[in-house]
């Protein structure tokens, strides 16, 4: 994307006014999407974003500028702007010698979506639409979306790091509306992996469409969710967002350093029930949150955050790690070249336990079974978090009974982690997610086995 000699010159300019660290992050990203709604292929969209973000660090201050002009002159102008923003006082000549490394993710893309005819992508939309509508007359609306992107990044910094990576992601989702006597309900199914068009060798779009339609139809007969505290069983693969919110964000080193995390100062302490092991793993092959290197050029890692209930470490980016005199954990990510990186999750999951999932439900006299969670949100400073249930059922006398309407559940991270009292042996990853932090969205994955939380507050309306 940019010649090594040009990068060396630009980094030299960035460091000229006293910078302690400088970095060029360049990105060339192509997006393609297609949407079918209301029976029509409404549009195909394609787009390209290409540019570079340059940061210069002096003391605790970071200056940042970005440009869509990747010529030497354009990059030098951005480097000067970033250096000025960091207010460096010193001077002198800086010679930067880059050491080119290779990024590896351990598997190959089989079919680049850019090589697939648009007609083949459109055909998938029509098939899913037909399959969803064939489920029954109560399905009153269907929307299907396909998306792929290819993101080529380059990172070069004043420590001599120079690495490039090429990432391909493919995504497919079906949303249905079902209409009944009591109004409308919605159902959704989505899949996404860090792979190419071979996504459709892994999944049958007809089946995905039927899953979405079935979810909407099931909810037509749903009763209002209960209000108040009771045991909650989370289904395998359906609820990793629980850990993303309950502890994931609170273990991001930037929030910890500001005192904005309830997990500050708790490394080495028992923060969760015995048996609970939480991992953030950017190396997980083909998963939605997979990365070969992070957006600061550091290799992805498998990081154990909580081991058998004990907090082992936080997640780190370059700046926070540098300040603490340790290595980044490969969690420095950004939405695009127009953003500064910060500490972000990749694929966050809870390891399986040993219990039979059926037995977990059978040993719950009264509670809620959440098969699929929606999104969530956390206040890391207080630990209070919510997450939505998009497919849930009552548990009565140890059996799954009636479907429930949508709602949020609320809990406090450190308390909920201590209340996990059953872990199934049936781990699975969940659907693709987008994690938002400070206005930046990045792709993340999550996974859980079937598990039970002894008490959570369910935000329904029924007594």
């Amino acid at each position: 994307m940019i010649e090594q000699s040009v990068l060396e010159v630009v980094l030299g300019v960035a460091m000229r006014t006293g910078g302690e660290f400088a970095e060029v992050f360049a990105e060339d990203r192509r997006n393609a999407s297609a949407v079918l709604d209301d029976g029509r292929v409404e549009e195909l969209t394609s787009g390209r974003d290409r540019g570079a973000g340059i940061r210069v660090v002096v003391g605790d201050t970071t200056g940042f500028a970005h440009t869509a002009d990747l010529t030497e002159a354009g990059l030098i102008a951005a480097a000067e702007a970033a250096a000025a923003a960091a207010r460096g006082g010193g001077g002198g000549t800086n010679v930067i010698a880059l050491d080119r490394r290779s990024a590896s993710r351990g598997y190959d893309i089989e079919t680049y979506p850019g090589d697939v005819p648009k007609a083949s992508k459109v055909e998938l939309l029509g098939r899913a639409n037909d399959a969803a509508r064939a489920v029954g007359g109560a399905i009153s609306q269907v929307s299907v979306s396909y998306g792929d992107n290819r993101r080529h990044i380059l990172v070069a910094n004043s420590d001599g790091l120079f690495v490039e990576d090429d990432t391909v992601r493919t995504f497919f989702a079906v949303s249905c509306v079902a209409t009944g006597d009591a109004g409308m309900q919605t159902g959704r199914e989505s899949v996404g992996h860090t792979i190419g068009f071979e996504l459709f060798d892994m999944y049958d779009v007809d089946q995905l469409a039927r899953n979405a339609a079935d979810r909407a139809l099931t909810k037509l007969a749903a009763r209002p969710a209960p209000s108040g505290q009771m045991p909650v069983v989370i289904g395998s693969g359906g609820g990793g967002v629980l850990f993303h919110e309950a502890c994931g964000h609170g273990l991001e080193a930037d929030l910890v350093a500001k005192g904005a995390s309830v997990f500050r100062g708790r490394v080495g302490q028992q923060v969760a029930s015995k048996g609970v092991t939480v991992v953030d793993d950017g190396t997980m092959e083909r998963e939605w949150g997979n990365i070969a290197v992070d957006d600061e050029g550091n290799p992805a890692q498998r990081n154990v955050l909580i081991e058998d209930g004990v907090l082992t470490d936080y997640m780190w980016d370059h700046l926070r790690a540098r300040k603490e005199g340790r290595r980044s954990s490969g969690n420095g990510r950004r939405q695009s070249y127009q953003n500064l990186p910060m500490v972000r999750m990749t694929n966050t999951y809870l390891l399986a336990g040993e219990e039979d999932p059926e037995a977990i439900i059978a040993s719950t006299p009264k509670g809620v079974y959440v098969k699929h969670l929606g999104g969530g949100q956390v206040n890391t400073a207080t630990g209070d978090f919510v997450f939505g249930m998009t497919e849930a059922y009552l548990i009565e006398d140890g059996k799954i009974t009636e479907p429930l309407r949508e709602g949020n559940l609320i809990g406090n991270g450190p308390e909920v982690l201590q209340r996990i009292d059953a872990l199934g042996n049936d781990f699975a990853m969940g659907p693709p997610g987008t994690c938002g932090k400070d206005g930046q969205g990045v792709p993340v994955g999550d996974g859980v086995p079937t598990l039970r939380v002894s008490s959570l507050t369910i935000g329904g309306t029924a007594a």
Binding site: L36, D38, R40, V41, E43, L44, T45, S46, G47, R48, G59, D60, T61, T62, G63, F64, A65, H66, T67, A85, A86, K118, S140, Q141, V177, G183, M184, Q185, T186, S227, G228, Q229, L255, K258, G259, A260, V262, L340, G374, Q377, N379, A381, T382, D384, F385, V386, F387, G388, R405, E406, G407, N408, I410, G411, D438, T457, I458, G459, G460, T461
Partner: protein, 447 residues
């Protein structure tokens, strides 16, 4: 200053072939964001970005492409992509671009030269002052999660082969901070902000004091008992609620069977105290604009009047399909085709101040923050459930702080259960205006 953008849009439109409609949206943004921490700049980002989005409609088929660049070669590639994409769309007799509708684009005071010339050092000073006042506001303030200054100058030009040709520039800036208050092992947070079109509109001290008050008054919060209570939504919370309500009044959702108010025009859908307007021509609103995303004049639309549903909002496509006219509600960035949405929704304020509203409630909750609106509220079914925090109301007075509970109802029921609208309009950095709102009979789920 933005005329060069219009010239680029004109050049794209001039490339249209016979029988082909072309629309070009060309934008440029200049943005500064300054974050401070412990009296020093933590990060300073300054950047200019630009892009072009091209929509092509040919033989009832629409295609779209965009590029984050205004290079001639990128524009040519984007136009070719948009044309190619159009060939894969399903024929739609209603497909087509907006056409001039005779409504004159209002002249609004949205661009301030003072924003353009404001020095970076003064922006930094303002952010540092924000943090300083937060820290000094109360001995229980333990730190800040964030304190930032941000501004933007947004220029946009839209031109089409159907005769649309607009250009405009808008400036905006805001200060925002999240404060933390700590007592013993407990930490609570609160935010404050100030918005304006130029820095002299901003009041760092007011934003700082609000953040500190919101954080400190939550100290000692407990989980409330479950029950059905009257709830006062504070302006920040009401604005988020109105944002969701706006979705249900979007003409495209109505046409596609996703609006719970689809067949209710002319009917009472809520309390007679409710009058909901969408008015992007009110320059006090952060998202005020003179033209919508298709270059039609922005205008004031009354959506619900005294509880009776009056109007859905439309862009050119949804209006044509519904057999009506665009209400000037095309919403878009340069990376997407226009969707339909409210631009700046607000309730017409009532006469009572917040203290009077609270004085009228024997047993209730003032909600100052909600969470999980994207996960627990379904605007298609109307199911509404969010995490909440705030203060109990007992015998007409604010009582103990409460947290870790949810409030739940349905959107349909909440509109009917509105008991009062406050007089405290608050303009926020979002497309909805806040006001205190009293809603009866929400289910509070706690202990």
């Amino acid at each position: 200053m933005s005329e060069d953008l219009l010239a680029i849009a004109d050049r794209v439109v001039a490339m249209s072939k016979p029988g082909e409609q072309i629309e070009a949206v060309v934008v440029r943004g200049t943005e500064t964001e300054i974050r401070v921490f412990e009296g020093d700049v933590e990060s300073l980002s300054s950047a200019q970005s630009q892009g072009v989005g091209i929509r092509v409609v040919v033989d009832g088929r629409q295609g779209f492409a965009y590029a984050g660049s205004l290079d001639e070669s990128a524009i040519a590639e984007t136009l070719a992509d948009a044309r190619d994409n159009a060939s894969f769309a399903t024929f739609d007799e209603f497909a087509g671009l907006a056409e001039p509708d005779g409504v004159v684009i209002p002249v609004l005071d949205l661009h301030r030269d003072a924003m353009v010339s404001f020095a970076t050092a003064d922006k930094i000073a303002m952010a540092i002052e924000l943090e300083r006042v937060v820290m000094a506001a109360d001995p229980r303030i333990s730190g800040i999660e964030s304190a930032e200054y941000a501004d933007s100058i947004s220029e946009a030009a839209i031109a089409s082969s159907t005769g649309i040709r607009t250009v405009g520039s808008e400036t905006s800036c805001f200060l925002a901070t999240y404060a933390m208050a700590t007592e013993g092992d407990e930490t609570q947070t609160g935010f404050g902000f100030s918005v304006g079109r130029e820095p002299s509109d901003l009041t760092p001290s007011a934003a700082a004091i609000e953040a500190a008050e919101r954080a400190t008054r939550m100290l000692g919060a407990v989980q409330p008992a479950s029950g059905r209570l009257t709830v006062v939504l504070d302006p920040w919370v009401t604005a988020q609620f109105l944002g969701i309500l706006g979705y249900t009044l979007d003409g495209e959702s109505v046409l596609k069977g996703r609006s719970l108010f689809a067949d209710r025009l002319g009917e009472s859908v809520g309390s007679s105290l409710l009058t909901l307007i969408d008015d992007p021509t009110d320059v006090r609103s952060f998202t005020a604009t003179d033209a919508d995303g298709e270059g039609l004049a922005a205008r004031r639309n009354v959506l619900i009047e005294n509880g009776v549903l009056q109007k859905f909002v439309h862009n050119a496509y949804s209006a044509r399909r519904a057999g009506t006219v665009s209400t000037g509600n095309a919403v878009r960035g340069f990376k997407s085709t226009p969707s339909v949405g409210c631009l700046s929704v607000s309730l017409v304020p009532g006469s009572s101040d917040p203290a009077a509203l609270i004085a009228g409630i024997d047993d209730g909750v003032l909600v100052q923050e909600v969470s999980g609106l994207h996960s627990g509220v379904n605007p298609v079914s109307g199911d509404f459930s969010t995490g909440a925090e705030g203060l109990r109301i007992r015998n007409g007075e604010l009582a103990e702080p409460v947290r870790e509970f949810t409030i739940a109802s349905t959107l349909q029921k909440m509109l009917r259960d509105v008991q009062a609208v406050g007089n405290d309009l608050q303009f926020l950095p979002m497309n909805a205006t806040g006001v205190s709102l009293v809603v009866a009979d929400l289910t509070v789920s706690g202990s």
